[in-house]
Symmetry: C2
Subunit: 333 residues, 2 copies
DNA sequence: CTGTTAGCGCCTTCAG
DNA sequence: CTGAAGGCGCTAACAG
């Protein structure tokens, strides 16, 4: 049994009204009598009509299409979990809001210039961009955002203006809090801090938080850049941990690397992470970390982009975070 | 600087030809003189024209839009890596072939009946479906596939017909081979085999492969169903491993669970996995496993779907697999 | 080989 | 409050 394509025309026929009237009830126009609205709704129901998004987009010039731009670092030692959660959160929320979302990997557009990117998204009828982890070095994408041709929501990067919002947790505060909780009651003063990327927005924020705590608690912090890499964290730990009391990492993945190094070195040092990825469980150790709800962040980003598309202007949104201790996928507290 | 939308009309104007002529060169029609083609191409180049896919789709009724249907088991102990690789492989290949791809999570359509699913995809102008791990129990989606309204490619599930292809590795052979390689030279005869899902297509295939080897090598195999869950594998290992010589798992995730259990039990048993996920590294052990190139599989699936959309008829595609030993993300052999 | 003419399915003034 | 008419940007016969 094949379901024939039922178009707005069929609905109009069945309801005994004009096509334009159906369109009006479809788009929640105000001036349609209750009676007509009911007739149309009934016809729609009966025929199982679902408007053709393509035609609707072409006609209205409002596509409701957005792109989720992700930088999935293949061949690097990364966690797929975070981008995956962004994808899940964004796609689900987009469906909720009847928006069409496509996923674009950064590598797909990396070699384009601003004009080419513009045309690419334009040809795809993309109206808004959800950009994850826009790096400071990425001049082209940044320029695209600033040109304002597309409404944008930046996840984990600053840059608010008329058509751009930013959404992120308070990284400095989170780092400060988790490290404080982690260190409380301990006599650990000499800290090895494995930071993320040099010039990384979130990395710098987290480092700021760490530094503030260091000042407050009189800690002696050695900062090294681990580039969010498990392997680098491992090497740095090997190199510096012996003379330190504890290791605080700007990501869970680096925390895993640190833990493995400690095991190999056969010494014990408490380790603190950041992100709350479930992957942590595989490290087999218990640990303090910051939990971000990436799915929720992506969903909120979609909402925000939708708001921008309706004419709202950009703003800075700070999402909540939690402090947790995890082990083997279980949340302890 | 805002790039104005340049339409086919502008190109036609600039090239001094009719709109339809531009359309013809755009769509590589044969009968256009070399001269005209050049003029048009030049105009396109100059104006930076990119055809509007929406309009083109509406007009031609060929959208080139496909959906990647994934079952991401949230809240279960799963690996995000595999779906992520499917996503990456499919999206990249779709871009390569100028197809538009949307990702649909099974949960988004789980409560629909066949008609609703049909209308949903129809309204989205989806022409083809890429379905990952279609389960035997999923009668509705299966019915949708069989109705033939959409061209489908099933990843890791059987069901070839006129408009449906199936793509997968030879699971029986792979399981047979990896287990054989794993056991070779060992005196292990008493095997605990942790199977995937009861009624799972790939699970049964793998079990068949295992059984064949068992017969050939005179193994005594205890089969238990671990549902691809780390936790269940862990429990089953606790329960049965003591009296066995080795553990063979139908997935790496279960292999990790088994390893953790062995550590807790403080006994040693060799473990064999399946899938080749990089996550294995986190288990910290060396292990034989089967490596599937999920990204490549997804890319091939896109190609196949494209072929179906062009009128080809369904077929069964067997992808290659490799036997590897892994440890800490490094491939040993 | 090129241009003219109809639409695709829907939205949006604008009369009535 | 409703319907007729014109178009969104492009494709696809059909004439010429």
């Amino acid at each position: 049994m094949i379901y024939e394509l039922v178009s707005i025309r069929d609905v109009a026929g069945k309801a005994g009204v004009a096509i334009s009237t159906v369109s009006k009830v479809l788009n929640h126009y105000p001036n349609v009598s209750e009676e007509t609205r009911r007739k149309v709704t009934a016809a729609i129901e009966e025929l199982g009509f679902v408007p053709n998004t393509i035609a609707s987009a072409l006609s209205s010039k409002k596509t409701g299409r957005i792109a989720l731009v992700l930088d999935v670092n293949r061949h690097a030692q990364t966690v797929d979990e975070i981008p995956m959660q962004y994808i899940i959160g964004a796609i689900n929320q987009a469906k909720e809001k009847n928006m069409d979302i496509i996923t674009v990997f950064f590598t797909m557009i990396a070699e384009m210039n601003v004009e080419e990117m513009t045309r690419y998204f334009q040809s795809q009828s993309i109206e808004g961009l959800l950009i994850c982890d826009l790096s400071k070095d990425d001049a082209i994408l940044r320029k695209l955002v600033e040109e304002g041709r597309f409404k944008c929501v930046l996840i984990d990067a600053p840059g608010v203006n008329e058509n751009t919002s930013s959404i992120h947790i308070d990284n400095a505060k989170a780092q400060y809090e988790v490290a404080k909780k982690f260190l409380i009651g301990k006599q650990n003063k000499k800290i090895l801090y494995l930071s993320g990327k040099k010039n990384g927005y979130v990395s710098e924020e987290r480092l700021n938080g760490m530094n503030e705590l260091a000042k407050e608690m009189g800690l002696e912090v050695l900062v090294r850049t681990g580039n969010f890499s498990e392997l680098e964290a491992r090497k740095l730990t090997m190199q510096y941990a012996r003379s330190k009391d504890a290791i605080i990492c700007a990501s869970d993945l680096m925390a895993i690397g640190a833990m493995k190094a400690l095991i190999d070195m056969d010494i014990y040092r408490p380790v603190c992470g950041f992100d709350g990825v479930s992957l942590m469980g595989y490290a087999g150790k218990q640990m303090h970390t910051v939990r971000q709800d990436f799915e929720q962040i992506a969903a909120s980003a979609v909402d925000e982009l939708s708001r921008l598309l309706e004419g709202g202007s950009g703003q800075d949104i700070v999402m909540p975070h939690k402090l947790i201790r995890i082990k083997y996928l279980d949340v302890i507290s």
